[in-house]
Symmetry: D2
Subunit: 266 residues, 4 copies
Amino acid sequence: MIWLKATCKLDFYMESTTPLVLMLRPRTGAQQWVASESYTLDPFVPMAEYTDIYGNLCQRLAAPLGNFSIQTSATVMTEYVVDRAPGAEFVDILSLPEEILAYLLPSRYCESDRFGDLAREITAGALLGYDQVLCIDDWVRNNIRYTPGSSPCPISATEVNQRGEGVCRDLAHLGVALCRSISIPARLVVGYLLGLQPMDLHAWFEAYVGGRWYTFDPTQKEIHGGRITVAYGRDAADVSIFHQFGAGDILSGMEVQVDLLPGAPG
Amino acid sequence: MIWLKATCKLDFYMESTTPLVLMLRPRTGAQQWVASESYTLDPFVPMAEYTDIYGNLCQRLAAPLGNFSIQTSATVMTEYVVDRAPGAEFVDILSLPEEILAYLLPSRYCESDRFGDLAREITAGALLGYDQVLCIDDWVRNNIRYTPGSSPCPISATEVNQRGEGVCRDLAHLGVALCRSISIPARLVVGYLLGLQPMDLHAWFEAYVGGRWYTFDPTQKEIHGGRITVAYGRDAADVSIFHQFGAGDILSGMEVQVDLLPGAPG
Amino acid sequence: MIWLKATCKLDFYMESTTPLVLMLRPRTGAQQWVASESYTLDPFVPMAEYTDIYGNLCQRLAAPLGNFSIQTSATVMTEYVVDRAPGAEFVDILSLPEEILAYLLPSRYCESDRFGDLAREITAGALLGYDQVLCIDDWVRNNIRYTPGSSPCPISATEVNQRGEGVCRDLAHLGVALCRSISIPARLVVGYLLGLQPMDLHAWFEAYVGGRWYTFDPTQKEIHGGRITVAYGRDAADVSIFHQFGAGDILSGMEVQVDLLPGAPG
Amino acid sequence: MIWLKATCKLDFYMESTTPLVLMLRPRTGAQQWVASESYTLDPFVPMAEYTDIYGNLCQRLAAPLGNFSIQTSATVMTEYVVDRAPGAEFVDILSLPEEILAYLLPSRYCESDRFGDLAREITAGALLGYDQVLCIDDWVRNNIRYTPGSSPCPISATEVNQRGEGVCRDLAHLGVALCRSISIPARLVVGYLLGLQPMDLHAWFEAYVGGRWYTFDPTQKEIHGGRITVAYGRDAADVSIFHQFGAGDILSGMEVQVDLLPGAPG
C-alpha cells in the first residue's frame, strides 16, 4: 500500500468560447482510495458535474476566450504491485455481471468484430481466461512499437495494427479489441503511472477474467502498480481527459506530476 | 393515433450451445404505448432479463444445440404522422440533458470524428438544428443507394460513404455520424415500420434538436410513422436484435409482420 | 417449474380527474419469467411509463372523470416450491452488494429503529442468518392474527404489533422491521399467490441471507410458491399497486384471478 | 458567490469492531461547486465508496476497536443569498420529472399520509406552489420551538408535532411531511450553514415547485445561504452522516467549523 500525489495542469488558449467536457477527477474505487482532491480553474467559470454511463465524474463548462487553465491534484492510496492471476478462468457470457456486458461490444477504436481470427491465432493453446489475455498483452508489446508522442489523434485498433506503432492508448486499444473478439470483456483505463518516462497521462487496459478486472499494460515490460485510475470506458471515444466541441488546436501546454508520498497524509 | 400489432419470428440452428443476447421487447416510451406483448421460446430455456445502458430490455440465454426459435409479438399504440419541426434549434452543449451527451461521441460504426468537413459542407447555410439534420437526411438519401439485403455484416459510416450503397442500418449510421460531427446528438433506432417493402426489421435514426428527439429515415422519401421502436443506442454495435457469442451462421429464418389494427385492443 | 396466468381488474369511479401512479406490470426477474403480458385501459388515456428506484415498472396517468378501469394480465413461469436454506449465513454489512444496503434502513411502515430488543429476544439462540428470519416469521405468524380485510389504510409495524392483527401487508411489514433491526436486509413484495383464499393481491416479504433473497410469508403455515412478484420495495409506501394524488375513495371494484396453466404457452 | 471552507471531525470510541456507513463528502451540484475536498481516517482502515439511490457518495468501513476518528474538509463555492420565488407554481404530478416522484411518498420520519388535513388548513388561501411551502415553513417556525440538542434520536413528524419542539432535523421533517401531504415533493438536506449558532451540522429542507428545488429552513427567521449540501434524501433514515450497525453510543466527540474564505482558492 502506497500513497501517491498526482497533479495535472492543462493550459488552453481559446480563439472563441468553447464547450468542454472534462474527465479529470479520480474516484475511490476497487483499487484506490482518494483521500483528497482539488480542482482549480483560472479564470473561474461556472461548471456542472455529472456521472457518465461508466461511472466517471465529468465536468461540463464553457471555456472562455483567451488563456484558460485547469489544475487538478489528488492524493490517493493504491498498491505498488499489480495483481496477477495466471489460470484465472474465462467467465461464461451467461455468468457475467450485467454491467460488464457492454465491455464485450465493439466500439469506435476497438473493432473487435474484425479481430477474431488474429486473436484465436495469438492465444492458440492458452488456457481460457487470464492466460489468453497474457498472450494478447505480450503479442501487442512485441509487435507494436511503443512510440510516445506519435499519434495526436486517436486511431483505431485496425489502424494501429497496420502501422505497427503507436502511443500507449493505441496499444491499449489493440489489446482491448483482441480480448473482446474472443468474448473477454475489456476496457480502456486512463490515469497516472508512477515513474512513467516521459511523465504524462497514461493509458492501459483491464480485462475481466476470474470474476474481476485485472490490469494489463503493453507499454511496460515489467508491469507494476502505482497507478491512479482517472477514468475508464470502452475506448478513447468515451474516455477523454478533455473533449472539445468545435474545431481548433486549443491545448497550449500540459504538465503531469506523480510523486510517491512518504506516508499516509495527515 | 393508431394501433399496430407486430410479430417477429427468428429460427436458428445451433451447431453447439451458443450464448445469445437478444433485444426484441419494445418498451413503452415517449412515442409509443405497449398494451400487450409476448415472447415465446421453442424449446423453452431459462433466460435472464436486464436493462442495458440505453434503457433497452435485453434477454440473455444459452441457445441449445439444434433447432431453436424465438417468437415475439407486441400490440402498440403510436402515431401515423411523424413530428417535424423545421426551425427547431440546435441545443447548446451546455444545455443538453446529461443522458443525451453520450450520443455526441463517435462510436463503432459512426466515426463522427472523421466527418466534420463533409457535414459542414452538406449543411452550409442551413439554420442550426433541425434544418441541418434535414440537409443530412436528404444528402444521405440522394447519395447512398438504399439496397435492402446488400450488407449482411454491419459496416461503418466511412465504409458506407465509400461504397455509395447500403441497407437501412448503413444509411442510418451515416446520418448519425454526420449529425454528431457537428455536435448534434444522434442515435440509431431499430424497430418495425408499417408498410415497409419488403417487410423486415428496420433501422432509422433520431436527432436531438429543439429539446427532444426527432425521427429521420433516409430510406423513405415521404417519411411517415407507424413505427415501433424496439431498441435504440449509439449504433448497431449496441443495438442488435440478437448478438451471438461464438462464430457461425446460426440464423436459418426470419419472419416479420406488422399489421394495422382496426381499433384499440379489448 | 409451473406456468401461471394472473389477471387483475381495477374499477374506479372518479369525482374529478385524478393523477394515478400504478405498479401492475410484473417483470422478468431472478425467480420468474414473464412470457406475455397485457394492460388495457377503459377508456384509453395517454400514460407514461417509468422505472422507479427499486426497478419496478410504473405507469403515470390522469384518470378521467367517471368510470375508469384497468385490466392487466400476465403469463409467467415460476416455481411451485419456495427455496429454503436453513443455515444460510448472515451477510456481513461490508460484504453486502451496494444495491441491497437501502433495505437495511427504517422506512415509513417498518420502523426497524424501534424493534431491536424484540428482534433479539425472538431470535435468541438462532444461528445468524436464515434461521433468525425463520424465528421472526414464526413469531409474527403466532402472535399477529391474520385477518384479511381488516385494515384499509397501511399501518406501521409498531401499530401492527400493538393491534395484534392485520392484513397480509401488515404481517409482512412487521417481519421486515424485525429483520432490519438485526441488520438483515428485508423488503416487501406485492404480487399474486396461486390458491390464496380469498383470492386477492397478496403481500409477503423477502430477506437477504446467504447471498440472495429468500421468500417468507407469515400468513401461510406451509409456504409454497406459485407466486408472481408484481413489485417490491422498502414497504407499502413505495409499493402500492395504485397511488392516487388527491383525496377520496376512488376504487369501486377489484377482481383478481390466478390460474395454473397446463403447460407452457404456445 | 462566496467560497466556504467546512471541516468536520468525528471522534469515536468502539467497544468492538463496528460497520459504519458514512455520508460526509459533499458533491458538486446545482447550487455548489466543490473545488477541493479531503477525507482522513485515523487509524487508516480500508473502505469502499458507493453512490446511494439519491446520488449521495457513501463510505462503508469497519471501524476498529478503540479510538477512531474521521476528519473531512471541503472548499466549496456557493451563494450567500437563497433563491426565493413567490408565485412559483405547483407542478402537476404528471409533469414532474421521474426522479422527483419518490419525494412525494411518505417515509420513516415524514408520515405525510397523516398530515393532509393540517397541511390544507395551514395553506388555506395560498397560491398553489411556493406560497404554500412558505405557509408551511412559517407555521413550523411559529409552532415548533427550535431547541438545538433536545432530541438525540430522530423522531417522526407526528411525534415532533405532538412535542412542539425539536432540533433542526425535526423541524425539517415536519416541513417535509406537510409539503408531501399536499403533493409537493420535498426532501431533507443535511449540510453546513455559515454562521450557525451553535456551530454544528445542520438540517433543512427543499421543496420542488416551479420546476426546481427551493431551500427552506424553519430554524431561521431570515433565511440566508452560505450552505453546503452534504447529502439529501427522503428523511433522516436515508441521510445520516454516520449510520452504525450494532448498538452502543460510539460517538465521543464532534467538531464542525465553517469559514468564509476571502477569495477563490488558488
